[in-house]
Amino acid sequence: MGREFWAGDGFLAILCTGPRNEGGVNVESRWFMSFFKSFLVLICLTFGFASVAAAQEDIESLRPLVNALAKGKFKETEKQIGALAATGNSAVAPALEALGDGDLYARKSDGVVFIAKKAGKGYALTDPLTLEDAGEVGRRAVSKIKVNNGLRRVIRSALGSLTLQSADPEVRKTAAEAIFKAKDPDGIEALDGALAKETDDGVRLVMEQARAAAVLASDMSLEVKTAAIEVLETMGNRDALSVIVGVQNASEGELKQVADDAVRRIKKNLAMWDNAQNIWYGLSLGSVLLLAAIGLAITFGVMGVINMAHGEMVMIGAYVTFVVQEIIRSSAPWLFEYSLLIALPLAFIVSGSIGIAIERGIIRWLYGRPLETLLATWGLSLMLQQAVRSIFGPTNQEVGNPDWMSGAFELGQLTITYNRMWIIVFSLLVFAGLMLVLKKTPFGLFTRAVTQNRRMAASMGIRTPWIDAFTFGLGSGIAGIAGVALSQIDNVSPNLGQGYIIDSFMVVVFGGVGNLWGTLVGAMTLGVVNKFLEPYAGAVLGKIFVLVFIILFIQKRPRGLFALKGRAVES
């Protein structure tokens, strides 16, 4: 009966422990390729709109050229397309695009050209230059301007060169990237033209790479191709690799030799970046582990209290974030960017007070009986979970990312997401802050005194029960602010804490109980090891290996990586 319910619960917890929000780069690039064409159209259209007002005069001067598209055979049409492209005015882009799609029609009565879409029995006409509505006509009033594949290619390259010389660097860049993807030799000419005028170094680079890709697809001379391979080699990513591998497979002799070398060097380079990426992901996972474990390092490591409700403190911190965001959404939306900063102190206070209450109410009666503490706090964790479930419901709550937490930037071949980066920074800040509190404040001094020798500390006038309570509160409060950070990358549900509790204990035990530096090193080591195992063993098996490794490690060093030495240990 109830047992099956548990089963589901456990499974959810497992799901929640997995890393999230990583990878997605590949998917993106695929998306990019397949949808690129429509994207290009969109850009052309917006540019059409933008320049309409500014260049009303020019547009009317273009009309005869556009109308000329309807005259003559394919040969003449091709010439007209060339003439349109030569104007360098992006206002002609919609017309060319429509021509390629077969949507460009000429009105039979006066030979004026329109973009036409089927509407009922007739056609809805749109002016190809101003993009204004031009009414509807019957089916027989217009005739389609015919195109063939040869013309379509001409149109594509014309469009390419139009966008390549657009005023906006982003548009130029996207156009160059499109040529790279298409590896279209017809684009070389347009690129050469654009390169001559290009002023932005970033865009110039992309254009040169696109040109190199196009050159390799053409039948140009060996020297030119060798130079192109060199250009691609400096690019060094998977796209460049696939282009050169294509050359490698298709060519023979000297060129193949050059391509072979380039492929080998790029692969080596990529392997290095792969390692860098694993380390980055590992550090990112490690920072999550550190955040989850650092509060436990105080309650368990420093005080020796087994707090199984630690995960629930994290969960409460996440729910505080949720509540803060809800209030901000409903009453002060302009504060949303600062919601996390507001939630941090609140989460610390809420979780910390709950921690103090737990210590005063339950744990202080159980000092010296660690196994009983374990059971009692486990019971507490069940109650806290159920309380949150009763108040907020069992489903995941939506916690939003502020702008500065979303998005990503590229570093070499690495894609670094802002939320992961900020969490690493944040976890280190929390760690540093905690060290500072423990080493440099009177409270920290008292805490260390009480942990080292309780009776002596009491004789010196330290109120040991209050130090116990506040130390426990500190550990719980830090778990709370960890919850604020984890709400950004994990599902905020009543089970949130369950997923972290075993990992946190592993980190603390692995790093060495009673040693905060051990916790830092332990978390980062486990994170990186986990990520390096993943490509070989898969995510789940990797985690199992890590668990088994820790089990064996504890046999070898029962007191962790950085064991405390001295009298305090044996008591």
Partner: protein, 389 residues
């Protein structure tokens, strides 16, 4: 000789317990099978199955009590042994389905056909025979416990550290059994059983038989635990629990004693799991969840740690409460369970049996005068060292 040894160790309390247990084992199937359904004394089959399930939980609690109550090893991973025993039995039951599965494959279970497996993995061989499965039910948890304990006890991993790595063990197994590649049905586990030893698992008689078997298993394991704890070996175990270093200094090989009782306990848990599976009709990786193992510990704590009888009573009581709560007040169950954890550790360190013992003593001693009988029977006394720092 063995039997005389077993019975010599029985005192009046254990005798009463055994008598009640035997009466239940006989009475429940009778009320289910012999009393006509129209009678108000008739016990519905679902109740028999439910009680059979409680019996397997009681057996699991007994195994935990043996290591925790008498040897001080708090295992938060006994659910792993329980589930392994359950999987061994589940594999036998899967092989019994034969061609009656959805895909009708005579050898491969449905989920393997579904995953496009061509032949049975090697570790499924032999599970079509009951005797083989029955051996595996004890052997697999036993070997795992032996290997795990051999490493852990030799390197003197004790107390909380041991608890945490037992939890890591069951968590690792949980993750492993969720994988489809493992060949144990992944997320869905093993289910849709038809026959056990040629009897239909759904039939009333089989259900009653399974209940009686579970009850007998509890009885036998109770006698074994009793024999162990009352022997000289049991005395050493208690010594290990209360002062491990001192026992070692006296010349006892502590790790050998621990390893022995730990392995026996794991095998009992395996048997409990094997009896559990045909009654509930499913085994899935959720049984490995650390939460289940921790819950088992609280059954023992409620009943009374280190009393054996208490473990059985605790398991039955808590699970009965759970059945009732989850049906009547589902939202309150976790509050009740959590509160039980806190209350028992704070106010009832000796559990129900301990309280009953104290009350009886008080009644006896009231005629004389108020004695300082705060120390319970030696078996229930928890080690009470000075504060950790």
């Amino acid at each position: 000789m063995m039997t005389s040894f077993l019975f010599r160790t029985l005192d009046a309390k254990a005798g009463v317990f055994i008598a009640i247990l035997l009466a239940v084992i006989v009475a429940v199937p009778c009320f289910n099978l012999l009393v006509p359904e129209t009678s108000s004394f008739h016990l519905p089959t679902y109740a028999v199955t439910l009680m059979g399930k409680y019996m397997t939980y009681a057996l699991l609690a007994l195994s935990v009590d043996l290591v925790w109550g008498f040897c001080g090893i708090l295992s938060l991973g006994h659910g792993a042994f329980f589930a392994l025993g359950g999987y061994a039995m589940g594999m036998y039951l899967m092989r019994q389905i034969g061609t009656r599965g959805v895909y009708g494959d005579p050898i491969l279970p449905d989920f393997m056909v579904f995953l496009n497996w061509k032949e049975l993995p090697w570790y499924w061989y032999g599970f079509d025979m009951f005797w083989f499965a029955a051996i595996m039910v004890m052997l697999v948890p036993g070997v795992l416990a032996f290997v795990f304990g051999w490493f852990a006890f030799r390197s003197r991993v004790t107390g909380v550290y041991l608890s945490i790595i037992t939890q890591a063990l069951t968590y690792a197994l949980l993750l492993a059994f969720f994988r489809n590649d493992m060949g144990f049905g992944g997320n869905n586990g093993l289910t849709d059983f038809k026959d056990i030893l040629g009897f239909d698992v759904q039939a009333d008689t089989t259900r009653a038989g399974l209940f009686a078997t579970s009850g007998l298993a509890v009885l036998i394991c109770f006698l074994i635990c009793r024999a162990i704890t009352k022997s000289k070996l049991g005395k050493v175990l208690v010594a290990v629990r209360d002062a491990e270093s001192r026992t070692r200094f006296l010349g006892y090989r502590v790790e050998h004693y621990k390893l022995f009782v730990w392995t026996i306990s794991a095998m009992m848990a395996g048997i409990a799991g094997a009896l559990y599976v045909p009654q509930v009709g499913i085994i899935n990786p959720g049984e490995f969840a650390p939460a289940n193992s921790i819950e088992t510990v609280i059954w023992v704590a409620v009943g009374g740690r280190g009393t054996l009888v208490g473990a059985v009573i605790g398991a039955i009581l808590v699970n009965f409460a759970k059945t009732w709560f989850t049906a009547a007040l589902p939202d309150l169950w976790l509050f009740a369970l959590g509160g039980l954890f806190v209350a028992v550790t704070l106010f009832l360190p000796k559990g129900i049996i301990g309280i009953a013992g104290d009350l009886m003593k008080k009644r006896k001693s009231t005629p004389s005068k108020e004695t300082n009988d705060t120390s319970g029977p030696s078996a229930t006394k928890t080690p009470d060292p000075e504060p950790a720092e």
